[in-house]
Symmetry: C2
Subunit: 247 residues, 2 copies
Amino acid sequence: MTDNPDLKEYWEARPLPLPSVSIDCVIFGFHANQLKILLLRYKNTDFFALPGGFINQDENLEDAAARVLEERTGLQHIYLEQYYVFGDKNRRFDATHHELMNGSGIMLRPGHFLLNRFISIGYYALIDFSKARPKPDAFSASCEWYDLDTIPTLIFDHDFILQKALHTLRANLDEKLIGLNLLPETFTMNEFQSLYETILGEKIARSNFQRKVLGLHMLKRLDKKITGGAHKAPYLYSFDSKTASKS
Amino acid sequence: MTDNPDLKEYWEARPLPLPSVSIDCVIFGFHANQLKILLLRYKNTDFFALPGGFINQDENLEDAAARVLEERTGLQHIYLEQYYVFGDKNRRFDATHHELMNGSGIMLRPGHFLLNRFISIGYYALIDFSKARPKPDAFSASCEWYDLDTIPTLIFDHDFILQKALHTLRANLDEKLIGLNLLPETFTMNEFQSLYETILGEKIARSNFQRKVLGLHMLKRLDKKITGGAHKAPYLYSFDSKTASKS
DNA sequence: GTATTATTGTCACAAGATGATACAATGACT
DNA sequence: AGTCATTGTATCATCTTGTGACAATAATAC
């Protein structure tokens, strides 16, 4: 393995974060009627991972998650929800960490802080796909969206962390205004319904869905959208800021 | 403050736990139509706190919480749910820690592991009040039940941790079988309803409640209970192990 | 013994929410 | 103008929930 002086310096200059604790972020987006998730691939490896990071000594938990989110997507003020802490006693992954860092030309010395047990706090984020500008971190070659049904196998226990996020998202679907955060400013009723269907993994009766969401009085009806399709043009909707709140 | 050699030895011999991470447990019980919470009072102080502890290096998070629970109540296989992580950057309470330990005759030296920032993982537990045998820990003078409406002010951010547990309990009331864990083996419909009413903090229409819970087919009807009251005797019920599961 | 009282188990009806289906409206294409 | 696919809405049946009424009954008062 060749050494990588730049990254090494960056890594070694970094003040040690809060020990034993890491953050993992499941970042959901919605595009082309598909629920998508942002994943990193580590340089010179086939290892895929959820975006994550550590907590600075003088940083709130929530702020650390928001920082990771901004670094990966360029977005601020993102909808973020802490959903579970993963604390298995076997959460130490020395061999994998060595491989990951080797991919960036870094040799982890014995006693390096990564080679310890970590608990990881899971956050899920809902973002407007069209606004995100995914950006890899220093150790990864890519940061890209993956459809839910084509997710590669992930490192560590990230598969489990992802599944748990998905279950939580499903369970929260009715209570939290999930559409508000995943959809663009304006959208059609069909897009809104598709979002719900892909999250739930099942079809919903069209007319009942419309009746229900309109009955909540959180949508404003805008102009019609001229689709170019050989059929009636749908209205565009947006969330009504008077009755719908961000969280 | 006088030194306390026994406790000091115990404390110093203890291998260091997982750094930066603690656990706090909100232990709910139900008795005499009141929702109750188990609190510790530190020796020679007026400081009240939620039972808590640390995670051993080779211990699962969940097991650490179960251990704390067993130490305070004598009960195993308790219903436990992780509900939130409290990670404010200001979660360091040096002055209070000194006072708490002074109460047990212990001087915390500079650099002691308690004098750091901690994140705390909140668990709430539901237990059968009649089976618990509350027991103080090494630093506390008492471990007792408090009615929800007579809770004293708590140390650190424990007031907030308690409120968040209560909100989560309310939100989960319909989905999780909360009665199963808080009630004794057999109970009347009235007791069952009172439990729900105290958790929700509002009255429920009697006949609707009965229709609803019986409709779930999770209760077995047993013999009548002779109360001694001048009225019709209520049936006793228990949870049906065939249709009701612990979690 | 008999009447009284408070509480319990159940039923009946109204109001509201949900599921399933039908149908007219409409933008683009032939 | 006619066809087509999709959209917005109305309708009806079904299920759920809110509200109140009523008979049953264990203890007490007389």
